[in-house]
């Protein structure tokens, strides 16, 4: 059962059509199609081994698909490199925190702001004092809740703070689309709640594709959900539709409290 | 077309390839399994030549020199591994390069201290002198011996790695060191053994070349760089890749030096071909490496699951 996506093309921010990816004998992505409508939070869930990580790599550009295409704002980005996709407005965050541990929090985001501005072949003026980098970085860090930690060396942050920094780095390039790979990974209940609130506040400004295991977060945030099993999308729909879908239940959901299997 | 010269040079190239293979096999094993970049592998080549050569001169028998060199290199290799290299495993590759570079300086100087700067001449036993007829050409017996020995070693390595328990342990350690350790494999001892094997192979290569080139200080370094080129082309960690790449490298390098100026004469005036020939031929193998790496940065036969 699939809930229809909005009709006109300009309402679709990101579309994957018939994605195919195999590693030797293993098919990780099997004729996968999904669409993220503008401004929505679209969650992708599935048991371990469902191919979520592969999907993230395919969409972000770290892997090329064997078949199928990816359209961003109507443009075919299937052949674009990962950095080129980011320049189009597609940003991602990493499941395993990927920050610059030796830089301060502020420097981390300043780098990302700099990347977003696209002027990095500059050899003379010191970047550290550049207000056109500092100001947007500071502002973003305030929004994310790290405003009072900007001079801390990133490697010294607590885990939850590092996850927040992770998101901030992704936001700093001024994307239109966010690919969030398990933003809640490793977070305790309080921190997760904070992240959920934060992501809710972003809704509307960005289109988000959210890969998550944390079912509370998924059902709290998602406008629509796609369920992945063995590389195939077995269902797409609103949270209620997915909750009540028999094939999804059988494959994945287990029981009502949202405990996942595997 | 001078087929005699062609065949001779081909065989010479094959023989060079065998020497390279003996070096490359040890290097690729150590790098593939222990993730250690060992520049001092060239020193093992040199030490094998000097130690084995000295034994041969003292006992009067080259064959005894070869036989006794094996346990000698095994011991020397294991001692070096246990004292210095073991501390390097957890470090990054830059540290390996730096530390083993320091070892090279030490070994070269120690050799100079013990044997003097002149090097060591190792004479061939009588029964290995002379040439033999191979079809239309006559070819030195000793070079044929080198080729045969090398092929036997290659075969032995293949059997060791794929058919014996030790080989299985080596492959397990290469594929997942932590897991192998957790399953009870004595990783430190395994590494020592592997390094020892590498040292023996290098020492053998050094020793068997001495009747042709004499043992000299610093002889290992040029071979080492070629050996690294070989394992990069062949795929780090792959013995099969090392073998194929070694032979190809040896043949191309040797035949290139002999025939490149002839080849160039096809489209260059005589002056240019004569001066460009030697210059280009010494660069050929590096151009080959650059070309291969440009299209296949992981080498021709990267071992599965590695890197």
């Amino acid at each position: 059962m699939n809930s229809p996506a909005p009709q006109t093309n300009t309402d679709i921010c990101l579309a994957a059509r018939g994605l195919q990816k195999s590693f030797g004998g293993l098919t990780a992505t099997d004729n996968l199609s999904l669409e993220a409508a503008r401004g929505e939070i679209h969650a992708v869930i599935g048991p371990n081994g469902a191919g979520k990580t592969t999907l993230v790599h395919l969409l972000s550009g770290m892997l090329r698909p064997d078949g199928g295409e990816i359209l961003f704002e109507g443009r075919d980005i299937t052949r674009l490199s990962a950095p080129a996709r980011v320049n189009q407005g597609l940003a991602r965050s990493f499941q395993i925190t990927s920050i610059f541990r030796d830089f301060t929090v502020l420097e981390n985001v300043m780098l990302s702001v700099q990347a977003g501005q696209g002027h990095s072949f500059r050899f003379w003026r010191p970047a550290a004092r550049d207000e056109s980098l500092r100001a947007p970085a500071r502002e973003l860090l305030e929004r994310v809740g790290l405003g009072d930690r900007i001079d801390v060396t990133a490697g010294n942050l607590a885990h939850g703070e590092q996850r927040q920094l992770e998101i901030a780095i992704s936001l700093a390039t001024n994307p239109t689309f966010l690919l969030l790979d398990e933003p809640m990974a490793g977070m305790g209940p309080e921190e997760s709640q904070g992240m959920i609130e934060f992501l809710k506040a972003l809704k509307g400004d960005y289109t988000m594709l959210l890969i998550e295991h944390d079912m509370d977060a998924v059902f709290a945030l998602a406008d629509r959900i796609t369920v992945l099993v063995y590389g195939k999308a077995i269902a797409t729909g609103t949270p209620d539709e997915i909750r009540n879908d028999a094939s999804v239940r059988a494959a994945y959901l287990g029981d009502e409290t949202g405990e996942e299997t595997g | 077309m001078d087929y005699v010269l062609l065949t001779e040079q081909f065989l010479n190239g094959f023989q060079l390839g065998i020497i390279l293979f003996l070096m490359a096999a040890g290097l690729t094993l150590v790098f593939g399994i222990m993730d250690l970049v060992n520049l001092a592998h060239g020193s093992m080549f040199m030490i094998g030549a000097f130690v084995g050569g000295t034994i041969a001169v003292v006992t009067g028998s080259f064959v005894i020199g070869v036989i006794l060199m094996i346990p000698a290199m095994l011991i020397i290799g294991i001692v070096v591994e246990m004292t210095t290299l073991r501390t390097l495993y957890p470090r990054d590759h830059l540290d390996h390069v730096l530390a083993t570079f320091g070892l090279i300086l030490f070994f070269n100087e120690a050799t100079r201290l013990i044997w003097g700067p002149e090097g060591l001449v190792v004479p061939l036993p009588d029964f290995l002198e002379g040439s033999v007829a191979l079809g239309a050409i006559t070819y030195p017996v000793y070079r044929i011996v080198i080729i045969v020995v090398g092929l036997l070693v290659a075969l032995g390595l293949y059997i060791l790695v794929s058919r014996t328990r030790i080989g299985m342990l080596i492959r397990a350690g290469a594929s997942n060191r932590t897991m192998a350790g957790a399953l009870g494999v004595n990783i430190p001892m395994l590494f020592s053994v592997v390094f020892g094997i590498g040292a023996v192979l290098a020492g053998l290569a050094g020793l068997i070349i001495t009747p042709i080139t004499a043992a000299q200080i610093g002889m290992g370094e040029d071979v080492l760089i070629l050996a690294f080129v070989v394992i990069v082309i062949g795929g780090i960690g792959s013995i099969r890749g090392a073998f194929i790449a070694s032979i190809v490298t040896g043949v191309i390098d040797t035949m290139g030096r002999s025939f490149l100026d002839v080849f160039l004469l096809l489209f260059l005036p005589e002056n240019a071909a004569e001066s460009a020939g030697p210059a280009l031929s010494s660069m050929m193998i590096y151009i080959l490496m650059a070309a291969i790496l440009f299209f296949r940065p992981q080498g021709l036969f990267p071992p599965k699951g590695a890197g």
């Binding site: 050899f123 | 970049v37 390069v97 490496m289």
Partner: protein, 317 residues
Amino acid sequence: MVDWKSPANILTIIVVGLCAVVPFLAPALGEPFYVIVFARIMIWAIAAVSLNLIMGYGGMISFGHAVYLGIGGYAIGILAFHGVTSVWIQWPVAIGACAVISLIFGAISLRTRGVYFIMITLALAQMLFFLSVSAERYGSDDGLNILARSDFGVRFFSLEDNMTMYYTIFAVLLASVFISWKLVHSRFGVVMRAAKSNDTRVQAVGVSTYRYRLMAFVIAGVMCGIAGLLQANFERFVSPDMMNWPRSGELIFMVVLGGMSTLFGPVTGAFVFLMLSEILSSWTIHWHIIFGPFLVLVVLFARGGIHGLLTPGSDRE
């Protein structure tokens, strides 16, 4: 901002200060030979500063960096051999040759990482080394003598005057440190340092790191080539040994010894390395037997180099 009283900075001031006054101090102390020693130290320091750019700040371990000393040097040597001694032709040719070759070598090498990168840079450098050995016209193994230093064509400034030569090298050294400083703190430098720390993340924010690395590689190659052309002028001699692989290894050592990814580390490193070589070699011709293990110990126990040891609380590399 800058703590001028920190031990590391004091050491820097001493080293630089010595370089500045040695041409007057050494003869006064009856040791004029040390002027030559310091000139050589400074030339190596320039090369080390250039290597530090890509190695210390960029994480690219080039085992073939000395090749640019050779390219810069031989450009001067070959042109002088053919009678071209004008600096206005020689130096641009040397710099241009380094730029082109480093672009080609970098484009090939930077497609690889880690050990592969180390080996390819080594092999490519060896290629040019063998080329120069086989160049009989230009002296091959024995090297090439250079009769006249680069001619500026003006009477008041001539490299034939040894003081002028010395202070030209000194000025270039200061300039190269200054350029290094500017680069590292610029937007370009931020990308380089970030790419060293986490290359994937830099790409994930939209920066194609290959281009930046290549640019850095070319800048470093040119800077090292300038050290090479200064060496050719100073020594009036070039030979293939300027760019053999032990030279590249020594360069790497100087950078690590001084302190990787510090601004003056490479200068201090070159100074200590060469002074130590001078002193040890005057004790015994077998000084490598001490030097080798010394290098190993530095790697094992003083990985942050001298500046690392002198900077309290630094968890340098």
